[in-house]
């Protein structure tokens, strides 16, 4: 029983990391209606940025969160403005290829610049753990859990009670109607893409103390993030949050009860089943694949 509770706790904490990444992916898909295949590479860029800030200026990754978030916002905004925006009315396959190409270019650019070696920041307290009622919790993961909750709450407030938030929601619901109401849709898209990337920036600063960075780390995380987003119904931030928790649990439990190297098989299988049989997501929060 104790093992089970420990696994559940681990799962939820792990899920909070996926939650931050997936909320960003959902923002981009829900508003701009583009599946960002380069999302994982944004994470990789953010992690290298956090690593460099730590290595050159001795900045703790948590302290580097602010510059990294800003950097990723700028990266996302630029990608939207100069890559996605010209292709908004292009065929869908062109949009897919554009972000796939960006992803390939970024992975290999990192490989060119940093090689295939692992880089990590100096050990810090974030890797330490605390004992709560006999269960072990990693401090860095607790921070992530708190940040994930704060992020969703903050975005909720922003979307519901600011003028910009309302404009974003209107654009997500109906681009043309929003346009007719005087919303500057192109600007909203740039902001939304930037925000989605900024979420990844936050994630990379929080992940950096726990995982070393490699050029391909993005692929590993983003495939999981896609599973989460599909599970959560593609366009719902709250769905993405709960989807992330579920994947965290599946990861933690199947890693223990089935086999550590098959946990991904389990959630990819889950992903395919959801995609095929319940495209609106587990909670029916999204409009799915139509």
């Amino acid at each position: 029983m104790d093992v089970l509770i420990q696994l559940v706790l681990n799962g939820i904490l792990l899920g909070s990391m996926y939650a931050i990444i997936s909320v960003g992916l959902t923002l981009i898909f829900g508003i701009v209606r583009v599946v960002n295949f380069a999302h994982g590479e944004f994470l990789m860029v953010g992690m290298y940025a956090a690593y460099l800030l730590a290595a050159k200026f001795g900045l703790h990754p948590y302290a580097s969160a602010i510059p990294v978030v800003l950097l990723l916002f700028a990266l996302g905004a630029l990608v939207q403005r100069f890559l996605i925006q010209p292709l908004l009315s292009a065929d869908e396959h062109i949009q897919i290829f554009a972000t796939v190409g960006l992803s390939t270019a970024l992975v290999n650019l990192a490989l060119l610049l940093f090689g295939a070696d692992l880089y990590s920041v100096p050990p810090s307290a974030a890797q330490g753990s605390v004992q709560v009622a006999g269960f072990t919790l990693v401090k860095g993961q607790i921070v992530m859990f708190v940040c994930a909750l704060a992020l969703v709450a903050g975005l909720h407030l922003f979307m519901q009670s600011t003028a910009l938030g309302r404009a974003i929601r209107a654009t997500a619901q109906n681009r043309n109607a929003a346009l007719l109401m005087g919303v500057k849709v192109d600007k909203i898209y740039v902001i939304a893409f930037g925000m989605g990337a900024a979420c990844v920036g936050l994630a990379s600063a929080l992940v950096m103390p726990l995982y070393p960075v490699t050029p391909t780390i993005g692929t590993y995380f983003v495939l999981t993030a896609f599973v989460v987003v599909v599970l959560g119904g593609m366009r719902s931030m709250y769905g993405a949050f709960f989807g992330a928790m579920i994947i965290g649990l599946v990861d933690s439990l199947s890693g223990y009860y089935i086999a550590p190297d098959l946990k991904e098989v389990v959630y990819f299988a889950l992903f395919l089943l959801i995609l095929i049989f319940k495209p609106t997501g587990l909670f029916g929060l999204g409009r799915g694949t139509e």
Partner: protein
């Protein structure tokens, strides 16, 4: 004139001259001899240079050219962007390697087994995933690839796992392993030719046209009687089998198999990338993309060595991004027509195809006046709205039935049910088939095969195909061969006054032309019952008159017509019988002159107050 086939983006197609011309005469066509010359360079250059490195580069070009060509059958023709195609490549490799290791079977046999297995697996992946749209199909194929890769690592007893599997080194043709590297090139080139031949054949067959139709607009494809999932599954199985063949060869060439390279996501993306760079949906594009990009990367690797780790991927990714932004049609899609025009200036070029027009269709036999369609008590609800409320209709052979009613009355919803695009919540639709039996079809393509032809109120052209090709898509329902379909399409184009614009890209037609194209594509399916949804809208006065005459002429060949129309003058003069629908119900039925006098009909159009004021 085959130049205009460029709307289907194919620069190297040899003109299909009528009748079987001799091989010699085909060879004197510059399109044929230029293609053969260009392809032969793939063997001549490395053989002449004699360098092992050059041979390796050209084997790689042939392998990836073949993979991209095979991928294009699904990704380009059918528009299903698989980013997990290395599943089939890996299956081909592992099947042959394992059969060789455990049973001593020659890889040539393993190759066939691998292809068969890959085709089967592809059906298992395609069947559930084809309902997914765009990026979600791509994601699902990535997920399948990851699952297969992880499983192949997990079951290391079979596959050797991450440690890999070394192919037993027996040398000679039966074992596909050679000391003389040039032999590998012969096989790779042969596989490339096979993939190109299959791709070319599909592109110029009924299957190819059907795939393009499905990719461009699936509703119109269904109305033309195409079984959407059926044709996609064919494309997937063929593409997977070819990919597996190449996979077997490549595994024997590398003599070492590991999940990370055989089931590689990066390779799967590269394959798709080459096809896009060259031109999706073209025969020559995937190979051309490979020829341009692969040597660049291989040479960079050769010159810069390990320090350039990642350089080739960076180049690939950047080229891909630039292509999407500047040449979304790819190289062949953009420059192909121009190059073909140049080639046609060479000696022996510029042949045109004689237009063969099919004779008029035979008159439909059957007893005039017999019931051919029975719709009973149809009910269709959308949430709280009952769009069709207990509607019953019968159609008699050879009549023209007009359906009128105010906007939003539910006329189009009834049509959608009569053609299988919507399934009623209650009620039945029975159709008298050509076999004289009653049928209850369940999918739009089944309705079309039974002889129901429908047009769409909101026109549904295959925008990037020429007008003639649009009509051919319809003609393929009853005619298997391209030549027959073309002849029928030409006849229908003439009938509908579209022969002047037959080579124009359909998307550029004005609305009147598009409406006529709707009718033309439907007529080409040679329907026995024709459902016309507001075909007069957007037509000029004189075109309306022509359309009325035309509908009469169609009826005179024995076709039964049911038409929704707001143009009252036209529909009243045309119809033998009128059905009035309002708020989802049939409120009146009868002869045109009687129906227009009915109080409920006037009420439906003009409101109760008007009726009262007029004292009716």
């Amino acid at each position: 004139m085959s130049l205009h086939d460029s709307s289907l983006k194919d620069s190297r197609s040899a003109p299909a001259t009528p009748g079987g011309l001799s091989v010699l005469s085909r060879l004197t066509d510059p399109r044929v001899y230029c293609t053969l010359f260009a392809l032969s360079l793939l063997v001549i250059i490395p053989a002449w240079s004699g360098s092992t490195f050059m041979v390796h580069v050209f084997v790689t070009i042939c392998v990836f050219g073949a993979l991209a060509t095979a991928w294009n059958i699904l990704g380009g023709y059918a528009g299903q962007l698989s980013l997990g195609h290395t599943v089939f490549y890996g299956l081909g490799g592992y099947t042959a390697a394992l059969l060789l290791t455990h049973f001593g079977l020659s890889p040539w046999i393993g190759m066939i087994a691998g292809a068969a297995l890959a085709a089967l697996v592809s059906l298992g992946i395609g069947y559930p995933c084809f309902r997914l749209r765009g990026p979600f199909f791509s994601l699902a194929t990535i997920a399948f690839l990851e699952v297969v890769r992880l499983l192949s690592i997990h079951f290391n007893g079979v596959t050797g796992g991450s440690a890999g599997l070394v192919v037993p080194l027996q040398i000679g043709w039966p074992w596909m392993i050679f000391r003389e590297k040039i032999n590998y090139l012969y096989i790779a080139f042969g596989l490339l030719m096979l993939c190109l031949a299959v791709s070319y054949a599909i592109r110029h067959s009924r299957l190819g046209y059907s795939l393009t139709a499905v990719r461009e607009r699936d509703s119109a494809a269904q109305a033309a009687g195409i079984n959407i999932n059926g044709v996609k599954l064919w494309a997937m199985a063929i593409s997977a089998a070819l990919t597996a063949l190449v996979g077997t060869f490549h595994a024997m060439y590398m003599t070492f198999l590991e999940p990370a390279t055989l089931f590689s996501l990066a390779t799967a993306i590269e394959i798709a990338m080459f096809a896009l760079i060259g031109g999706l949906g073209t025969v020559a594009g995937p190979l051309l993309g490979t020829v341009l990009v692969v040597p660049l990367a291989e040479l960079a690797r050769g010159w810069l060595g390990a320090s350039a780790n990642g350089l080739h991927g960076f180049v690939y990714g950047s080229v891909l991004v630039i292509i999407t932004l500047t040449l979304p049609g790819g190289l062949v899609g953009t420059f192909g027509p121009f190059v073909v025009r140049l080639i046609d200036r060479l000696p022996g070029g510029g042949r045109t195809r004689a237009d063969v027009v099919a004779p008029a269709t035979k008159i439909i036999t059957g007893t005039p006046g017999e019931v051919v369609l029975k719709a009973q008590n149809l009910v269709k609800r959308f949430g709280g709205l009952t769009a069709t409320d207990n509607v019953s209709l019968t159609l008699k052979r050879g009549e023209i039935l007009g359906v009128i009613g105010p906007n939003g009355a539910g006329k189009t919803t009834v049509f959608a049910q009569l053609s299988g695009f919507l399934t009623p919540n209650a009620g039945t639709i029975e159709i008298l088939g050509p076999d004289g039996k009653w049928h209850q079809p369940s999918s739009p393509d089944a309705f079309a095969r039974l002889g129901i032809g429908r047009t769409f109120q909101i026109v549904q052209p295959f925008g990037k195909l020429s007008v003639l090709e649009n009509i051919m898509i319809g003609a393929f329902l009853r005619h298997r061969s391209v030549d027959d379909a073309r002849a029928v399409a030409l006849r229908v184009a003439k009938l509908m006054g579209l022969d002047d614009v037959k080579d124009v890209e359909a998307g550029t037609l004005p609305i009147g032309g598009l409406k006529r194209l709707e009718v033309a594509r439907t007529l080409a399916t040679e329907p026995t019952i024709l459902l016309l949804d507001e075909v007069m809208a957007g037509q000029s006065q004189s075109d309306t008159v022509k359309m009325v005459e035309l509908i009469r002429a169609i009826r005179d060949t024995g076709v039964t017509v049911i038409a929704i129309e707001h143009n009252m003058q036209a529909i009243m003069s045309l119809s033998d019988r009128i059905v009035v629908i309002d708020s989802g119900k049939v409120i009146a039925e009868g002869k045109p002159d009687a129906v227009v006098r009915e109080r409920r009909v006037i009420e439906a159009y003009l409101g109760e107050d008007f009726v009262d004021a007029q004292g009716l």
